[in-house]
């Protein structure tokens, strides 16, 4: 006698409002921007029209843009490497803590993620400023005052601070799946602590490290606030150059071309990540 659960007309009706909004505000603007990047730009009038690949050609051949792309790549790669070096051991240490410390410190390491990036950039500019505590410590140690702000180093340090949670999270997740008995077994068979970590733990958390690295790299390469506030006027990165093209030079087609290249690079990184991680799981299952 029980009535079969009645079906709503169609799942498409349920998802239609969100789908329409996303179509209008994600797909349409992206297509428009891709088209805009092929428009000619008249410096005198600011009008855009016609078809040209000149913006891409100049981005890919002009040494000014190449330098910015290279710098962005270098900064993002270094920030990623440092995140691995700090984040992986930290996640491992956290996973070996007992509660309540484990929850408390997980919160301490991850919660800064939710504080506005402008606040964190501002914090670093004070820490590393000429009158800041880092310089005071350097003076006390006899190194003298150093100019730390507006350098690649500062941008990297602040990026590491912003991105570290993105590395800890996936590594932590893969550590949770790990059976501690396996590490114990290695130790009881006479393996040293180091051997157990390198031969037993590391291979199992490798997908976590890899996925963290790609997320950190992608986000660092497109970061805007950190280079904008800590890189100063000289130290341009891809995101700040797009901002300049749009809001200072008003050369939208040029800015659009850089943005399209940034998006393409990001998508390649993210799709590679999917491939690699899924491939890894398939091999483990198969």
């Amino acid at each position: 006698m029980s009535a079969a659960p009645a079906r709503l007309p169609t799942p498409l009706i349920l998802s239609a409002p969100a789908a329409l909004l996303f179509g209008a505000l994600i797909l349409t603007p992206l297509v428009l921007t891709a088209l805009l990047s092929f428009n000619e730009f008249e410096h005198a009038t600011g009008r855009t029209h016609g078809f040209t690949v000149a913006h891409y050609a100049s981005v890919l051949s002009d040494s000014y843009y190449l330098e910015i792309f290279l710098r962005t790549f270098r900064v993002a790669a270094l920030a990623t490497a440092i995140c691995v070096v700090i984040g992986v051991p930290e996640a491992y240490i956290l996973s070996r803590m007992r509660n309540p410390w484990r929850s408390v410190f997980l919160l301490v390491v991850l919660a800064p993620l939710l504080v506005s990036v402008v606040v964190r950039a501002f914090g670093w500019s004070m820490l590393l400023g000429p009158e800041g505590p880092v310089n005071a410590a350097l003076m006390a140690l006899g190194f003298g005052r150093m100019r730390l702000l507006y350098s690649e180093g500062t941008v990297i340090v602040a990026l590491v601070h912003v991105m570290l949670p993105f590395m800890v999270i996936p590594v932590w997740t893969s550590l949770q799946k790990l059976d501690p008995a396996v590490e114990q077994a290695a130790l009881s068979f006479g393996a040293s602590r180091a051997t157990a970590i390198v031969r037993v733990v590391a291979p199992q958390i490798l997908p976590g490290i890899l996925s963290g690295s790609l997320i950190v790299f992608g986000l660092s390469a497109s970061a805007f606030a950190i280079p904008g506030l800590l890189g100063g006027r000289r130290l341009k990165m891809v995101a700040t150059i797009v901002y300049d093209q749009y809001l200072s030079d008003l050369n939208w087609p040029m800015g659009a071309a850089v943005a399209v290249l940034l998006l393409a690079a990001n998508l390649i990184v993210m799709l590679t990540y999917h491939r690699v991680v899924e491939g890894h799981y398939r091999r483990r299952l198969g």
Partner: protein, 264 residues
């Protein structure tokens, strides 16, 4: 159970110091009585907090951000609940595409979204409109809501719904009395994380706000690139405070580790 050795604990302390130092210094400097950015060595003062509340631009931006975050988080939940139900409970053509579309703002840099929306808004003559700004924020916070909702919906026992149907409940009743209460932690957790993300968003908003709709992070960015005085520290301290409250709430209703670390 193995324990962490002394080297591990020293390393851990340094990481914690590294993570907290920039936030701690912002909160300390906010209480300085001096005119320059300096640690309050000669007593504490609230003068810079007072200065923030007297600064009409910051006050207006704060209200803009608050309304923007409240509206976009709420509307994102309203849109995401039916969409998440559709995606998790039905097999249909285009399901994979829709799922990817709803999560896509997570992998498109906000900078790219910002310039793309600026182009669209310029073409339809909506530059600087608050309504379109809300719509743009809904789009970027919906993925966070979707992820929690999909986890909540997949994780629950449908036999309870079946029982309600077999006792003669209508679809609307089942949704209101059974489904919604069971996914409620996902809904509130999603709302809070959406609120925080919208309230903090800078990179996209900087392209699509006008002088009257400037949000707090955009205002702070502009202010910090021009002049730096302790008022900036006071605003930052207020934001750290608001975020801390939101984080504690989030931890209460959903569990912060569950939200950030995720289970899928």
């Amino acid at each position: 159970m193995t324990r962490n050795g002394p080297i591990a604990l020293i390393f851990h302390s340094l990481v914690v110091l590294f993570m907290l130092a920039p936030l701690a210094i912002v909160c300390l400097v906010a209480f300085t009585p001096e005119n320059t950015l300096s640690l309050p060595t000669r007593g504490l003062s609230l003068r810079w907090f007072e200065a923030v509340f007297r600064h009409p631009d910051f006050v207006q931006s704060f209200w803009n951000s608050l309304w923007l975050a409240l509206l976009s988080a709420t509307l994102a939940v309203v849109l995401a609940v039916p969409a998440a139900l559709a995606i998790t409970r039905w097999e249909f053509r285009g399901r994979g595409f829709l799922n990817a579309l709803f999560l896509s703002p997570l992998i498109i840099p906000h900078l790219v979204l910002g310039v793309a929306m600026l182009r669209l808004f310029a073409l339809v003559g909506a530059t600087g409109s608050f309504g379109w700004l809300v719509a743009a924020h809904i789009v970027i916070v919906t993925p966070y809501v979707m992820r929690l909702l999909i986890a909540a919906i997949t994780g629950f026992d449908r036999s309870v719904e079946q029982a309600a149907y077999s006792l003669g409940a209508s679809e609307a009743t089942v949704f209101r009395r059974v489904t919604l209460p069971m996914i409620l932690p996902g809904v509130t957790g999603g709302w809070l994380i959406a609120f925080i993300n919208s309230f903090d968003e800078l990179t996209m908003s900087i392209f699509i706000t006008s002088p009257s709709t400037v949000t707090l992070p955009v205002r702070m960015y502009m202010y910090a690139t021009e002049s730096i005085d302790p008022m900036m520290a006071a605003v930052s301290a207020i934001i750290v405070g608001i975020t801390a409250v939101a984080v504690l709430l989030l931890d209460r209703v959903y569990g912060l580790d569950r939200i950030l670390v995720g289970q899928h």
